[in-house]
């Protein structure tokens, strides 16, 4: 389905990706891998996935569209293809998901030449893992009310505070950090930093546990952490703007985080349909139940709609307000994933009660897990409620709800 939009050059690259992935599919690990990257906890999982990402990077399937001088491939429209083929190949997911999805675009758009050259190559290769430091215990939805302080001290900044929701922090070399340098203006008082994590003095990383019973995100405490001014991203007071860029590009991260690693929306839909044709309802396949089938088709239409809206976003003549579609994708995707998983549970009926480790659990209990995890995505990085505020205010020009 994706393929039909390729140029000859892209079609060739797609063939290359396919071939390479066939030849280099890694042996399954002797240990269980979590559903997606942000849940990776053990060192053996990390090592296995880091090795894999490096391999994929060396093969040219990561950073395809980034400039060569920053460790990229210098192509155009190749990353979509590589992602698509990675998903189809059903190979392990990429470990550095926050780095690729959020840090890299922020650095590319707002970083200095030095920062781009220094940070992007090891980010793309996965040699340096990244995490995100936006949310705080008292600033969940309200990112702009971040209280973690950054106090200027000559060529350095002193960071103090507390961040939550920081997936991968326990492996991370770096964090993209939103901090407050001034309390005068809520928004202009924010500055954006690249903050060292691993081995940095004053940084404490503690794991948090999700309602699924799985780990995979952390809280990070900062006590007089010293950060060089050369690690500031964009100007002092521009933190909010950079954060907006980060969230705009979050879709990739949100998608992979929302949905069990590499699986794409289309694959999840196929999984849903396959489930319905497999599970029994009143003695017959659930798929034969017209009511369930109607709801599956409703989901199928939303999936196709999302795909086509994403496609339309790249056609200027068919989009009025430039932010109308980009600002909606995280909201649409996260709620679509939630509704898709919820429907899967209904299709499973009694089997929806079965969880990880149960031999009878359909698809290895993927669906109850995906449903619970979907709330992580409708909540994280700006809840759906906040997303609707942003769209109403920035696209429809409605009065701010504050």
């Amino acid at each position: 389905m994706e393929a039909r939009r390729d140029t000859p050059e892209q079609a060739e690259f797609r063939q290359y990706c396919r071939r390479w992935l066939e030849e280099h599919r890694p042996a399954p690990p002797p240990f269980r891998l979590p559903e997606h990257a942000i849940e990776v906890m053990t060192e053996e999982q990390r090592a296995y996935l880091a090795r894999w990402q490096k391999q994929v990077y060396d093969a040219g399937l990561i950073g395809c569209d980034y400039p060569k001088e920053y460790g990229g491939g210098g192509h155009q429209g190749f990353q979509r293809i590589a992602n698509n083929e990675l998903a189809l190949a059903g190979v392990p997911y990429l470990l550095n998901v926050i780095g690729l999805g959020m840090a890299a675009p922020s650095i590319l758009h707002h970083g200095s030449e030095e920062q781009k050259r220094r940070f992007l190559p090891p980010l793309l290769s996965g040699e340096e893992i990244w995490c995100q430091g936006f949310s705080e215990p008292n600033a969940g939805s309200d990112l702009a009310s971040a209280q973690t302080s950054a106090v200027r001290d000559g060529d350095h900044w002193i960071i103090n505070g507390h961040k939550v929701w920081t997936s991968l922090a326990h492996f991370a070399s770096w964090m993209i950090l939103l901090a407050r340098h001034s309390s005068e203006d809520k928004y202009k008082g924010l500055t954006y930093f690249i903050c060292p994590i691993a081995g940095a003095k004053g940084v404490t990383v503690r794991p948090l546990i999700k309602l699924t019973g799985q780990t995979g995100f952390n809280e990070v405490l900062f006590e007089d952490v010293v950060v060089s001014d050369s690690l500031r991203l964009d100007e002092v007071g521009k933190g909010w703007d950079v954060a907006m860029t980060t969230l705009l590009h979050e879709r990739g991260a949100a998608e992979s985080a929302g949905t069990g690693g590499g699986t794409s929306l289309e694959e999840r839909l196929e999984g849903l349909i396959a489930l319905a044709k497999r599970m029994k309802r009143r003695g017959r396949p659930a798929w034969d139940d017209a009511v369930l089938r109607d709801r599956i088709v409703q989901i199928a239409i939303r999936v196709e709609g999302f795909r086509q809206t994403f496609r339309r976003a790249r056609v200027g003549a068919l989009t009025e307000h430039p932010m109308r579609i980009p600002l909606s994708s995280k909201l649409l995707l996260s709620e679509l994933n939630q509704d898709l998983a919820a429907l899967a549970l209904e299709i499973e009926g009694a089997f929806a009660s079965l969880y990880l480790g149960d031999a009878q659990a359909p698809d290895g209990a993927e669906w109850p897990l995906a449903y619970m995890n979907s709330y992580g995505i409708t909540i994280a990085a700006g809840t759906s409620e906040i997303q609707r505020n942003i769209l109403g205010e920035r696209v429809l020009g409605l009065a701010k709800t504050k």
Partner: protein
């Protein structure tokens, strides 16, 4: 065959769309629309014979601009433009809640284009020349399945003889001819019948939608000459099926345009209207439904352009894509229409407020060629 990235929506389509938007806002804006169909509520709804007003001068202008010839193949004097262009025009018609046989005629064109009878080409040439035509293909149950037509075709003196009634004919009193689906001994055929032909009686329906007229067309021994047979018996349902994705896309596009009007009109109201000393838009109970209107409209619109593009470049995908577009647009239209009235509050419930004109047009659009649940059932059959 693969779809172009941009849905095939290029220079020409953009020019057409922008020209259409300009002309319609100049010549068929809200004020003109109110004067035309909503000047007086008794006039609109309480006359024994419901009115069917329209702006014939505007029609002639659209003909001059080549809009009726848009979908007519070049071989028959048309522009032979792609479906994306037709969809863009339909979108503008919906945005303006246009009172005109334009979409009806485009629908007839799309069916005639798919028909192989001797009369198809001639009919297309008439349309290119400015004739308005409507499809007459629906039975008394309002079914959109061709098999169910209640019109019969039998050999008669001087041609084919048609008897029976075609129901739910759109803009019947604005067109010069009908493309009638009829059952002959050896299958379904399509016949071009002039509105004033002997034996034709147009019985107007009283309908909710103020921007259209609708009627059932009674055919009593109507004779159709051989050169008026658009599809010979056996070819009629094939032509309709081939054109179906385009028909669905056409009405879905109209709904998307109308929804944009509803969205922007309601958002504008929420910007200026104050309650509790704040603009309405401050309240999430207003803001979030407006955002949901926008999200629903965006989904339907993307599916419409995908369907149009599939019709142009990927016929195998066309029916599924078009049914998705219609299903999405129908649910979207129901939601957006409801919110456009509700969020306007008291004024939105009055005749003097413009929103009811679009509300009613959308309600009519929702059921044309089958509603959302019907389309989803059809999609499920191929999933």
């Amino acid at each position: 065959m693969s779809q172009p990235k941009n849905f095939g929506f290029g220079e020409d389509e953009t020019l057409l769309r922008d020209a259409a938007r300009k002309l319609l806002s100049d010549r068929a804006g809200v004020e003109a629309l109110r004067r035309l169909v909503a000047r007086d509520h008794r006039e609109a709804y309480e006359r024994a014979v419901p009115p069917a007003p329209w702006d014939e001068a505007l029609w002639r202008q659209m003909v001059e601009l080549g809009w009726t010839a848009l979908a007519v193949p070049e071989a028959h004097g048309g522009a032979g433009m792609r479906m994306v262009a037709v969809a863009a025009l339909a979108e503008e018609a919906g945005r303006a809640a246009l009172v005109s046989p334009l979409l009806t005629t485009l629908a007839a064109t799309l069916v005639l284009r798919a028909a192989d009878g001797p009369g198809a080409g001639a009919a297309l040439e008439r349309i290119a020349g400015g004739a308005a035509m409507a499809l007459a293909v629906t039975d008394a149950d309002g079914s959109w399945e061709p098999e169910n037509t209640s019109v019969t075709a039998r050999p008669g003196s001087g041609g084919t003889r048609l008897d029976g009634t075609a129901w739910f004919v759109q803009d019947a009193r604005k067109v010069g001819a009908f493309v009638v689906l009829a059952r002959a001994a050896d299958g379904l055929g399509l016949y071009v019948v002039d509105a004033d032909a002997p034996g034709v009686t147009i019985v107007p329906d009283h309908i909710v939608d103020l921007t259209r007229d609708q009627a059932h067309v009674e055919l009593a021994g109507v004779t159709v000459a051989a050169e008026r047979v658009a599809a010979a018996p056996g070819g009629g349902d094939a032509a309709l099926r081939a054109a179906l994705p385009a028909l669905l896309t056409l009405v879905a596009a109209d709904m998307c345009g109308a929804a944009e009007w509803q969205l922007h009109t309601t958002a504008a109201y929420a910007q200026i209207r104050k309650q509790f000393d704040r603009p309405l838009g401050f309240f999430q109970a207003v803001k979030h439904p407006l955002v949901n209107m926008m999200l629903a409209a965006d989904q339907a619109r993307s599916l419409v352009y995908n369907a149009a593009c599939a019709i142009d470049t990927e016929p195998a995908e066309a029916e599924r894509a078009a049914r998705m577009a219609k299903a999405s647009a129908a649910d979207m239209a129901a939601f957006c229409s409801g919110r456009s009235v509700q969020l306007h509050g008291g004024i939105g419930f009055t005749w003097e407020c413009d929103v009811h004109l679009w509300f009613k047009r959308q309600q009519h659009n929702q059921m044309l060629y089958g509603d959302a649940a019907y389309q989803r059932a059809k999609i499920a059959e191929v999933l």
